[in-house]
Symmetry: C2
Subunit: 190 residues, 2 copies
């Protein structure tokens, strides 16, 4: 019989979440530094949740008793830096050879494309965990690679060599941990 | 005995939520129109929720069984319009004489102040329900009135006449319902 192995699949999910946490907390710490230093105002958006049931067990404290995660229609991070609108998402991979395009959701592509049309700064931060390298991937460079995957024999991933040869790296440091805005100024030339 | 009247207080909360819904849904419809027409990319941020417990009753569908509302650290709306970063919150009042400053939270003031320092466009949309009038209140005009409330005998509200005499109105129409960006271009001169 083909029962799903609940324990294994749950374990997998927990691991994935933990992987995500490090990159997320590094970006959050960087954004907090930017805010406290008056450099930029960039926040992570809350995860959208559909609330179905709320109870009021104590005064003034609503307790949500039934709710579900919704698919976001945008990216995770946005804000303002020197008058420029900044919008991005962060992804990571354990692969040593390529970044799989399935890590990126179609709604993130359409959102960042709309942002770029409004002259916003739109990109992904891609973390290659085995090398501990962080790259800035602007939406206009991603688009031809993204569209190519739907062609016959189109590649479903971006080779690591493409990152190494063509993209700017964010160097990890003490404070801020991931100074991505410094790199963004170079990449987008402002 | 002084028992809290649970039913009454619950009813009150529901009504308040409904009042808010109209303005919120008018702004959401306007933002959808902006997005579909390629005019701007502005979204409402999800309400931040602290998830405490999640169960997995069915495959692939996480059910949140315990969660609580968190206080947001930013405003409700932000995005990009002609390369400009746009950030605002929307408030309404049933008063015919003034807008009470207690409708605005201190974290919204500090957030919009930071945004303005980064040359973002930061403001409130204020709806006077009895007149069905919508005003744009930029953060730099709000600040002296906001700070004044903490002085001795300082006013805790903004008179309706101040809005009428000094601020630009958004006119309600069919599509978009509240064309606030048209007014923003005039107010912020771009």
């Amino acid at each position: 019989m083909n029962y799903p192995n609940k324990k294994k699949s749950f374990q997998k999910e927990v691991n994935k979440a933990n992987l995500g946490m490090t990159l997320e907390s590094d970006i959050d710490a960087t954004n907090r530094y930017y805010l406290d230093s008056g450099i930029a105002v960039i926040h992570k958006k809350p995860t959208p949740i559909q609330v179905v049931n709320v109870s009021y067990p104590a005064r003034n404290k609503a307790k949500i008793t039934e709710a579900y995660y919704k698919t976001p229609s945008t990216t995770d991070y946005n804000g303002v830096f020197k008058g420029k609108y900044i919008d991005f998402d962060a992804k990571e991979t354990n692969s040593t050879t390529s970044f799989p395009l399935k890590n990126i959701h179609p709604h993130q592509i359409s959102h960042l494309t709309s942002v770029e049309k409004q002259n916003g700064i739109a990109f992904f931060i891609i973390h290659f965990k085995p090398y501990n390298e962080y790259y800035i991937l602007p939406i206009h460079l991603l688009m031809p690679l993204w569209e190519n995957q739907y062609k016959e024999k189109g590649r479903k991933s971006i080779p690591y060599a493409y990152f190494k040869d063509n993209l700017h790296q964010i160097h990890f440091s003490y404070q801020p941990r991931l100074d991505y805005l410094k790199v963004i100024q170079t990449v987008f030339n402002f």
